[in-house]
């Protein structure tokens, strides 16, 4: 009794003359290739067309602001602790009087960097954040000329201001956030 009944005996008969001039089998193969001439192309013409990502796609990070445009991040460091690739570094600072429109709470991140070459886009930072300050968007990190270019600063990560730059903000929200 065999494991499955799909095993086939290999045919080791010597080729007949017609087989040995290969012609018929070549013609059959050419029939297969010519049928592909009329098939739909699998290519996505990248810069013009883009592939639609899944709803749960985890792309480039965004640092969030609240509805009045104040940064959510309080530099608690939970994202950096959660990060398995140790890609996140930050420096905290205290909010000074007069900066209430810039930062939501008394403590904020002066420096916030994510190394996109280390990042594995697992989304654990998003899960760890208690302030809803970081989430993963639906775009991916574009190519760059040097390694330095892949260390994203706070300016690169912050979402556009929801009041001052409305269009850019809506665009940055992406379709996933709009649905919610």
């Amino acid at each position: 009794m065999q494991l499955t009944n799909r095993a086939k005996q290999v045919d080791r008969k010597p080729m007949t003359f017609l087989e040995s001039i290969y012609l018929w089998n070549i013609v059959k193969g050419m029939g297969i290739t010519i049928s592909h001439l009329f098939k739909k192309k699998a290519t996505i013409q990248y810069p013009e067309q883009t592939r639609t990502f899944s709803k749960v796609f985890r792309g480039l990070h965004v640092l969030n602001r609240d509805a009045e445009g104040r940064e959510n991040c309080t530099a608690c460091g939970l994202c950096a602790v959660a990060c398995p690739a140790e890609a996140i570094t930050m420096e905290a600072a205290e909010r000074l009087p007069g900066e209430e429109l810039l930062y939501r709470e008394e403590k904020y991140a002066v420096k916030y960097e994510i190394n996109m070459l280390r990042c594995i886009f697992c989304g654990l930072c998003e899960e760890a954040c208690p302030k809803d300050a970081i989430y993963l968007s639906q775009t991916f990190a574009p190519a760059n000329y040097g390694r330095k270019g892949f260390i994203y600063k706070k300016e690169d990560l912050l979402i556009p201001h929801p009041v001052n730059e409305k269009d850019a903000y809506q665009k940055a929200l992406g379709n996933r956030v709009e649905k919610n």
Partner: protein, 349 residues
């Protein structure tokens, strides 16, 4: 007196014709590279090059420009003279073959007719064969002068392959020559225009000739001299810049010329099928133009088949190549020749 007897107009006519044919060969070769990449893409469910200009039609220009601006490297250990000679020889032999091909019906005027053929010599097709057999030297010299083991192996493979496949090619041709009784290319075409194309009478001969043409052009499935995965591009491995371009280009010109030869020998040359064009009473230049376009259509179809085969069949193993050439094609070609001779004898009685 000697200079007076030179026919200036004949020289001028031939010079113009030669310039046109060389220009045409280069143009077709350029766009065969484009067609190759396009067809390769389509057969693999891709688009092929489509960025340079509309549908990527400037792609060959971009490729050529790139080759010109590449750094030229001549290996220190190479034989300089032979190294430079190799690509030139490959190119020259590829171009010379086109001299005897009739490109269209002659333009008949009151003062005489202008044949669209550089030389309608009596030995016609034999010139093609002799030049093609010299074409081996382009590969041999290139591979030898590079002083590289891969190149040398490729050169030896190329030489043995081309010598082996010239035999069945010649034998398949003899059956055609039985039917025409002439080596002149113009008479071979005229015979087909009168009695029907040779492919109808010689289907086996056509297939043998076509397979051998693939081998002579070093096209897949017989591209053993430039086997990428075993010999790192073989005989042109050490070449760079436009010298590499010459080798690659020579391959496409060879394809073009061998398609022209196959079209002339088996597919009726510039003859238009199913019609009697003499009854149209067209202007002679228009008639020549139409017949030229018909020949080009046949050549384009054959070039497409060349490309189609390349993207279908994997490369033959070396022993399979030799077995096919010596044990299959030669006996078949001999059989074809004997049957043709017997049938012709029988019909003449």
């Amino acid at each position: 007196m000697f200079f007076l007897s030179i026919d200036i107009w004949l020289i001028l006519e031939k010079a113009i014709l030669i310039a046109c044919i060389i220009g045409l060969s280069f143009f077709i070769a350029m766009y065969t590279t484009y067609a190759e990449r396009k067809v390769a893409g389509w057969l693999q469910d891709r688009h092929g090059p489509n960025r340079a200009g509309p549908f990527g039609i400037f792609q060959p220009l971009a490729d050529g420009g790139k080759l010109f601006f590449k750094e030229e490297i001549i290996p220190l250990a190479s034989n300089k003279v032979l190294f430079l000679l190799g690509p030139g020889l490959a190119m020259i032999t590829a171009l010379v073959t086109s001299t005897v091909i009739p490109w269209g019906a002659p333009i008949v005027t009151e003062k005489g007719s202008i044949p669209l053929q550089v030389a309608d010599v009596d030995m016609g097709i034999l010139i093609v064969f002799s030049v093609v057999s010299v074409g081996v030297y382009g590969i041999m010299i290139g591979g030898w002068a590079s002083n590289n083991k891969f190149s040398l192996i490729a050169a030896i493979r190329g030489a043995s392959q081309m010598v082996s496949y010239e035999l069945p090619m010649g034998l398949a041709l003899i059956a055609v020559l039985f039917m025409t009784g002439s080596l002149k290319m113009s008479e071979i075409v005229a015979n087909q225009a009168a009695n029907g194309w040779h492919i109808i009478y010689q289907p086996l001969g056509f297939i043998i000739f076509f397979v051998c043409a693939l081998a002579e052009c070093n096209r897949t499935p017989f591209d053993l001299p430039e086997a990428e995965n075993e010999l790192n591009f073989g005989y042109h491995q050490e070449y760079s810049s436009m010298k590499l371009g010459f080798y690659l280009f020579a391959e496409y010109i060879n394809m073009f010329v061998s398609s022209a030869v196959i079209a002339t020998l088996f597919l009726g040359g510039y003859d238009i099928p199913f019609v009697n064009e003499a009854s149209w009473k067209l202007e002679p230049w228009l008639m020549s133009l139409i017949s030229f376009s018909v020949l080009m259509a046949k050549i384009s179809f054959l070039l497409f088949v060349f490309i189609w085969i390349r993207w279908t069949i994997p490369r033959f193993r070396y022993d399979q190549l030799m077995n096919l050439g010596w044990k299959k094609l030669i006996p078949l070609a001999l059989l074809n020749m004997i049957i043709t001779a017997a049938v012709m004898l029988w019909l003449n009685k």
